[in-house]
Subunit: 242 residues, 2 copies
């Protein structure tokens, strides 16, 4: 494994913890379905949901602090305020031209919101909207970073390891071929195993009141996180060569 | 155990998880000591630290969403914007008159900041200030809620269970006597045991790169969290009867 792929794999593995922990803590709060409904936020002159409002506030604060200047950090809302800090951008090793085109935050948000009714119970308690939205935003941000980071760094690492093969697939516009080349079934199997162990181990040790079926999170990895990461990787690679 | 004390104990036990998880995740980032230094935030015309700036942004957003209208949620910064949502305050069972006087957010912030050099390594990397400040604020908020919630609800529950005794201690201004009455060594011993198991279990399962000595968090409970909670309880009780 090359150095860039090794670094990216370690990052993704550590960030799994954030995703799992935030999902488990989110599950402790009521489902709060009204908090996701447009026009029911309770804020005057605000069309979005309570969740949207909190996400927007946090993204505004993050943008001022340069959060979205880092490759992989991708906001859902656009039109955020300009970064207020001097940009000290790390040497990422990425092909920077392609970065702005890799943005699947919208799909990630949709996928996250459709997980909620399966993750949480059906209680709806306005007094807990703050607690649930806080975890929602943390979980969404952890997911968005994981998926975009995987899309950029893992794709770049794989491209560098097999430039000839990817170049011909990209030139041929062979999206299926690229996806196949990107797929490593053994790694996906390892991820599934780790998720299962982490979900069941963490909630046991935390002695959580409301338990989450590890299969739900494994399925979310299989059906959402991994496919969306691949979609982002394809988006990145299609722009990788001119 | 009365219903109020039982409810409060369960809340505190669940919130232990948030504190421990955020501290463990914070420890994965560099110590970033410059991010706590006043005047070095990088924001134009801002005197505080990078950490202060982020804390203030998050508290401003929280205040608009009524976060600080809930007993136990206590901001460090004052002068925050007014809540923008209609207040649906839960029936807390607390003696509301005393609430505004229980505010030890300043002490909690200081205590948290002095934990950082022991919790984190000595690296200082501006590109990770966002990640470290995010966890700092989550940890500070979890600590503040735990301590203030314990101060209010546990004190009220104990007062209700032994009103006569507490009334005479309060009337006599016997702070030491109140602290002694509040202290349950067996519960404190149980907390220590749980912290030890949770810190060591959680970081093993998460396979964290940087491990935290469980003793550090146990000591933080012993020397900071529990004493500050008691200080808050005394503050609450001294205002409890007129």
């Amino acid at each position: 494994m090359g150095a860039l792929l090794d670094k990216a794999a370690k990052f993704l593995k550590q960030r799994e913890n954030n995703i799992i922990v935030f999902l488990l803590l989110r599950a402790q709060e009521p489902g709060n379905k009204t908090s996701y409904q447009r026009g029911k936020s309770g804020f005057a002159n605000y069309d979005g949901s309570y969740f949207d409002h909190w996400l927007n506030e946090i993204e505004i604060a993050g943008s001022k602090s340069n959060r979205y200047s880092f490759p992989g950090e991708t906001s859902f809302f656009k039109n955020l305020p300009e970064p207020e800090l001097e940009l000290v951008r790390p040497d990422t090793g990425l092909f920077e031209v392609a970065l702005p085109d890799v943005d699947i935050a919208k799909e990630i948000r949709e996928a996250y919101l459709s997980l909620i009714p399966k993750l949480c119970d059906s209680r709806d308690d306005r007094n807990t909207y703050g607690s649930s939205a806080e975890m929602d935003v943390l979980a969404f941000q952890a997911l968005s970073l994981r998926i975009h980071y995987g899309a950029l760094y893992v794709a770049e690492a794989k491209f560098q390891e097999n430039e000839e093969k990817y170049t011909s697939l990209i030139r041929a516009g062979d999206v299926n071929g690229i996806e196949t080349a990107l797929t490593r079934p053994k790694v996906e199997e390892e991820i599934r195993d780790r998720i299962q162990k982490k979900v069941s181990g963490l909630q046991t040790i935390m002695d959580l009141k409301i338990k989450v079926d590890p299969q739900l999170i494994m399925d979310f990895y299989d059906n959402t996180i991994i496919p969306l990461t691949k979609k982002g990787q394809v988006d990145y690679l299609m722009k990788r060569i001119n």
